[in-house]
C-alpha cells in the first residue's frame, strides 16, 4: 500500500481547506490537500449566485469566482493535491486511509490534520414528514447540483420547505430557468435567511412566503403530486382546519445543514452536541493533539468569507504547531452558554491567550433586538458588546479584547436585553 508522508494533511478542498492549504504553505510547511470530487471548490462551483467575497475581497463575487481565486493560488504554489480521493478513516494516531482509482488504497502519515469536510443537508427522513415516498423529493443542495452542474431540471412545479438562504436562492434559480415555484414554506414566524434574499428571490418573482407553516403530508405514488401545508402554533404543532393543498411535482427541502463528522469520530475527536462539530480550543485544535478543524465541519457558517478566514487562521496555527513555534499547553477555561446562547466556539480557551484579543463565534437561540452579549467570570462582568439585531441566522463574531486580569475560571456568555432608560 502506497504511503505518503507530509506535514499537514487537509481533508476537504472547499473554501476552508483551500484557505488552510494556502496559509499553511505560506507558513513554510508541506501540505497535502485531499478532495473526493473531481475538482476543487467544495460546494462553491454549484453556488453560481453572487454575494460572496464582500468581507475578504471587498467585491461581490459568485461562488465559482470566489473558489477560483483560491484555486489559482493553490496551483501557483504547486501545493500537492489528490482529487477523486475519498478518505475512509482517520486513525487516532493521525494516519489517514484513503482510496482512489489510480493508486488503490493509500496511507497518509501527516504530523497534523486539518478537518475541512463541510456539511451534509438535513433530509425528509430526518424531520419525518408523513406521506408517500415518490420521486421528486430533493434537498435544495442536490437540486442545485443537478441544475447548475449536471444541467438537469428536477421538475417544473416546485414547493420549497425552509426559507433559509439556500431555499430562497433555489426559488429564484428555478424561476429564472422557467419553472414555477408555488410557495416557500417556513415554520418560524420569520425567514431564516437574509432580507436581501427574500426581496430578490421571492418578492421579485411574486413567490409567496408562508411563515408559521409546515408540510404535514407528501402525496403522490410514483412522483410527487401535491403537498399538504398547515399553519402551526408557537409549539410548531399543526393547527387543525388550516390545511391547504399545493399541487406540485417537486418538493425541495432547505431545512438545515449538519456538519459531516463521521471521519472525525473515527479519529476519536469529541463532538459538541450543540454545534454537531468538534470541540475546539482557541487554536482550532480538537481533543486529539494535532487534529484541527475549521469551516462548516466545525460549525455551520453563513458567509463563505468567514469559512475562508477560519481556514486561513487554522492553516497558520497548524503550521506553527508543527514547527513548534506554538506550544499548546493544557491550562484551559471552558466557555459556558448562558441565556439565549445557542453555542459558542471555541469551547475551551487557553488561560494565557487572554493576554491578547480572543475571537469567539456564537449564535443566539432566538432573535432579540437591542441586547448586550455579556462575558462573565465568577459572576463578574468582564466585557459586553451591544447588538442591535441578534439573529440565530447571523453568526456573531466577537473579539474579546485583551484582559488585564487573570481569567482562571469558566466564562459564561449570555444575552441580556438593554435596559430601557426610564422616561420622566
Amino acid at each position: 500500500m502506497k504511503t505518503y508522508i507530509t506535514d499537514i494533511a487537509i481533508i476537504g478542498g472547499g473554501p476552508a481547506g483551500l484557505a488552510a492549504a494556502i496559509s499553511a504553505y505560506e507558513n513554510g510547511v508541506n501540505v497535502l490537500l485531499i478532495e473526493r470530487d473531481f475538482e476543487l471548490g467544495g460546494i462553491l462551483p454549484q453556488c453560481i449566485h453572487n454575494g460572496f467575497g464582500l468581507g475578504i475581497f471587498d467585491e461581490e463575487l459568485t461562488g465559482p469566482e470566489f473558489a477560483q481565486r483560491y484555486i489559482n493560488k493553490v496551483i501557483e504554489y504547486k501545493i500537492p493535491i489528490m482529487l477523486n480521493t475519498m478518505v475512509l478513516e482517520i486513525r487516532p494516531n493521525k494516519n489517514i486511509l484513503a482510496v482512489n482509482k489510480n493508486e488503490g488504497a493509500i496511507l497518509v502519515k501527516p504530523k497534523a490534520i486539518i478537518l475541512a469536510m463541510g456539511c451534509r443537508e438535513r433530509t425528509r427522513g430526518n424531520i419525518r414528514i408523513p406521506g408517500t415516498r415518490p420521486a421528486g423529493i430533493y434537498t435544495a443542495g442536490l437540486a442545485q447540483r443537478l441544475v447548475n452542474i449536471e444541467g438537469l431540471m428536477p421538475g417544473k412545479k416546485f414547493v420549497i420547505l425552509g426559507s433559509g438562504d439556500i431555499g430562497m436562492i433555489m426559488a429564484r434559480r428555478l424561476t429564472l430557468e422557467g419553472a414555477e415555484v408555488k410557495a416557500v414554506i417556513e415554520i418560524l414566524p420569520y425567514t431564516s435567511g437574509l432580507i436581501r434574499n427574500k426581496v430578490q428571490c421571492l418578492d421579485d418573482f411574486g413567490i409567496p412566503l408562508l411563515l408559521q407553516h409546515t408540510i404535514i403530508e407528501i402525496k403522490g405514488k410514483d412522483r410527487v403530486e401535491s403537498v399538504v401545508v398547515s399553519k402551526v402554533d408557537e409549539n410548531w404543532e399543526p393547527i387543525k382546519g388550516s390545511e391547504k393543498s399545493f399541487e406540485c411535482d417537486t418538493l425541495l427541502l432547505s431545512v438545515g445543514l449538519i456538519p459531516e463528522n463521521e471521519l472525525s469520530k473515527t479519529a476519536g475527536v469529541e463532538l459538541d452536541p450543540k454545534t454537531r462539530g468538534p470541540i475546539i480550543n482557541n487554536y482550532f485544535q480538537t481533543n486529539v493533539e494535532g487534529i484541527f478543524a475549521c469551516g462548516n465541519v466545525l460549525h455551520v457558517n453563513d458567509l463563505v468569507d468567514n469559512v475562508a478566514s477560519e481556514g486561513t487562521l487554522t492553516g497558520e496555527i497548524a503550521a506553527k504547531f508543527i514547527k513548534k513555534i506554538i506550544k499548546i499547553d493544557k491550562n484551559f477555561v471552558q466557555l459556558l452558554c448562558g441565556r439565549n446562547i445557542g453555542y459558542v466556539l471555541p469551547q475551551k480557551v487557553n488561560k494565557t491567550a487572554f493576554k491578547n484579543s480572543v475571537r469567539f463565534y456564537m449564535r443566539v437561540k432566538k432573535p432579540e433586538n437591542n441586547v448586550y452579549i455579556n462575558f462573565k467570570v465568577n459572576d463578574k462582568l468582564i466585557y459586553k458588546k451591544f447588538e442591535r439585531f441578534a439573529r440565530p441566522s447571523e453568526m456573531l463574531i466577537i473579539d474579546l479584547p485583551k484582559q488585564d486580569i487573570l481569567i482562571d475560571n469558566n466564562i459564561l456568555i449570555e444575552v441580556i436585553p438593554k435596559e430601557k432608560k426610564s422616561e420622566n
Binding site: 500500500m1 427522513g125 420521486a135
Partner: protein, 483 residues
C-alpha cells in the same frame, strides 16, 4: 410461452419457492407485476427471523417458522446473504406482564423450541442490554432469533434461481387466468403464458389472483406498519427487543439491522387501500412512543428515514398454503409475520405438495447452490481494498460516502443476472442511498452511471419504474424556443 410451473409474485415467498424449484428439472417462470423483485411487503418489514415461540401452536405460522429455522444458516451462507443470530428479548416492563412471558414459553415448548429462557434479574438483563428501560422486570430470551436483510435474501434467491434456469418476467401484472388443459395466464401488456401449475404467491393481491380462477374463499386485508430508522453507531442495541405481544401484533419492536442501523416499529393498523404505503403523523407518533417504552433515550435527532409496509392478512389470520379445488392451482397466501421467517420451510412444503399431486420432480445434477457476489468493499481490510482496486479500478471510486459503496459494486448490480435498472434497484442491491444523507451525495452520480451502463438519457432514469422519473429535462429546456 409454455412452462411446467408459473409462480405469480416475486416477494419472499415466490422467491424462496422459485429457488427451491430451481433445484429440479422443471421449467419455471416467475411473474411479477412490478419492475423488480421484492417491491411489495418484502421490502418494508422488520427483517427478523423469529425464534419460533410466539406463533400459536398448531398454526401454519408456527409450523413453518419452526421448520425454516435450521435452514437459514446454510442458505444465507450459500447465497451471500447477511444473517446475524443476535437473539431476542420479549420485555416485561411490569410485574403482571411476566405471566405473559411464561405463556409464550409454554407455547414455544409446544412448538418444539428448546433453547430459550426467562430471565427475571433486571441487573443481568441490563448488563446484556444497557440502554433498555431500567424498569424491566423480566425478559424471555431467545438466542435463536436472528436479523436479516429481507430484500437481500429475496434478490439473491431469485438471482440464484435465474442462474439455475428460472425465467423471470417483470412488469407483468396478471389480469386473467383461464383453465383449459393447462393454465393460460394473460398479463396486462398482452403476454400469454401457458403452465401446468400455478403457484399464487401474490402477497397483498393473492385474493385477487385466486379469484381469477373462481376461488374467492379468502380475503386479504392490508395491515399497515410504520417504521423509523436510525443512523449507525448512535446507540448500542444488542438484541431484537419485543414488548409483550397483543392479540393482533407482536408490538412495536426496537431492533438492530444487519447494516448496524436500528429501527423502531411497526405499529398495526388495518386499512382499505392496498397501494397505501404512506407514513402518517399519528402512526409515526405511535411508533416512537412504543419505541421509547423499551428504549427511553431514543436518539430522535439521529433518525434518518421513515417508511411503511403492508402485511397481507388473511381472514383466518394464518398462512393459507394448499393445493386448491382447482387441480394444479396452489395458493400461498396470507403470509404476514412470521412470513419472512417461514419462507424456506414454505418453499420445501410447496415442493412436497407438487410431488404429492404427482408432478415429476427430478433433482438436477448441475444445480449451482452458491451465488457469487462482488465483495462488500466497505468491510474489507485496507490491504484487501488495495488489491481489489488494483484488479478493478472502479472499486477506487466511492459513490455513496455514507455506506462506502463503490462504482464497481453499482456497475456490477446493473450487470447482474437480475439487472438493476432504477435508482431503487441500486439502493436495494448495493445500499447506495440508504445512509444518513439519503442519497444527497450519490444520487446525481448514480444517475450518470445508470445512463452510462444502460445507454439512456437522464430523463429516462426512474426511482422505481415508469412514472417515477427523477428529472424532467435539461436545465435550459423550459426556456428554450421549441422548434
Amino acid at each position: 410461452m409454455e412452462y411446467d410451473i408459473a409462480i405469480i409474485g416475486a416477494g419472499i415467498s415466490g422467491a424462496a419457492i422459485a429457488r427451491e424449484l430451481s433445484k429440479y428439472s422443471v421449467k419455471t417462470i416467475l411473474i411479477e407485476k412490478n419492475p423488480s423483485v421484492s417491491m411489495g411487503t418484502t421490502k418494508a418489514n422488520s427483517g427478523i427471523i423469529h425464534g419460533g415461540y410466539a406463533a400459536k401452536n398448531g398454526t401454519n405460522k408456527a409450523r413453518f417458522n419452526v421448520a425454516s429455522l435450521p435452514l437459514f444458516e446454510k442458505v444465507c451462507n450459500d447465497l451471500n446473504v447477511s444473517y446475524s443470530k443476535i437473539g431476542s428479548f420479549v420485555v416485561a416492563l411490569e410485574k403482571d406482564q411476566i405471566e405473559k412471558l411464561y405463556e409464550l414459553k409454554e407455547n414455544g415448548l409446544k412448538n418444539g423450541i428448546k433453547d430459550f429462557k426467562i430471565i427475571e434479574d433486571p441487573k443481568k438483563i441490563l448488563k446484556m442490554e444497557p440502554n433498555l428501560n431500567p424498569n424491566v422486570c423480566g425478559v424471555l430470551y431467545c438466542p435463536g432469533a436472528a436479523i436479516i436483510s429481507p430484500y437481500e435474501l429475496c434478490i439473491n434467491l431469485v438471482e440464484n434461481a435465474i442462474i439455475n434456469g428460472l425465467r423471470f418476467l417483470p412488469d407483468s401484472e396478471v389480469i386473467e387466468i383461464k383453465k383449459e388443459d393447462k393454465f393460460k395466464i394473460i398479463t396486462r401488456s398482452g403476454i400469454e403464458i401457458k403452465s401446468n401449475i400455478v403457484i399464487n404467491a401474490a402477497g397483498l393481491y393473492a385474493d385477487k389472483i385466486s379469484s381469477l380462477v373462481g376461488l374467492d374463499y379468502f380475503k386479504i386485508t392490508p395491515r399497515k406498519g410504520e417504521y423509523v430508522l436510525f443512523d449507525k453507531n448512535v446507540m448500542k442495541i444488542n438484541h431484537i427487543l419485543f414488548p409483550v405481544p397483543t392479540k393482533i401484533s407482536k408490538g412495536i419492536v426496537v431492533s438492530p439491522t444487519v447494516s448496524n442501523n436500528f429501527f423502531v416499529g411497526p405499529n398495526a393498523k388495518n386499512i382499505d387501500d392496498k397501494e397505501d404505503i404512506s407514513c402518517t403523523l399519528d402512526g409515526l407518533k405511535e411508533v416512537i412512543e412504543g419505541g421509547k417504552k423499551l428504549i427511553p433515550n431514543l436518539p430522535l435527532r439521529d433518525a434518518i428515514t421513515v417508511f411503511a409496509g403492508l402485511r397481507a392478512v388473511s381472514n383466518n389470520n394464518d398462512f393459507i398454503i394448499e393445493q386448491t379445488e382447482i387441480d394444479g392451482f396452489i395458493n400461498v397466501a396470507g403470509i404476514q409475520s412470521p412470513g419472512l421467517s417461514s419462507c424456506l420451510g414454505i418453499a420445501v412444503y410447496v415442493v412436497d405438495i407438487l410431488k404429492n399431486i404427482g408432478i415429476n420432480l427430478r433433482l438436477k445434477t448441475d444445480f449451482i447452490p452458491t451465488l457469487d457476489k462482488p465483495p462488500h468493499f466497505a468491510y474489507l481490510s485496507p490491504k484487501d481494498k488495495d488489491e481489489l482496486i488494483k484488479k478493478d479500478e472502479n472499486y477506487g471510486r466511492v459513490i455513496c460516502r455514507c455506506e462506502t459503496i463503490t462504482e464497481a459494486e453499482i456497475r456490477a448490480a446493473i450487470n447482474s443476472p437480475l439487472p438493476a435498472r432504477t435508482l431503487d434497484d441500486i439502493k436495494f442491491r448495493t445500499r447506495a442511498g440508504m445512509g444518513r444523507c439519503q442519497g444527497g451525495f450519490c444520487t446525481s452520480r448514480i444517475i450518470s452511471i445508470l445512463c452510462d451502463e444502460l445507454g439512456k438519457n437522464p430523463t429516462e432514469i426512474t426511482k422505481h419504474g415508469k412514472g417515477s422519473e427523477l428529472v424532467i429535462g435539461t436545465t435550459k429546456h423550459l426556456r428554450r424556443d421549441t422548434k
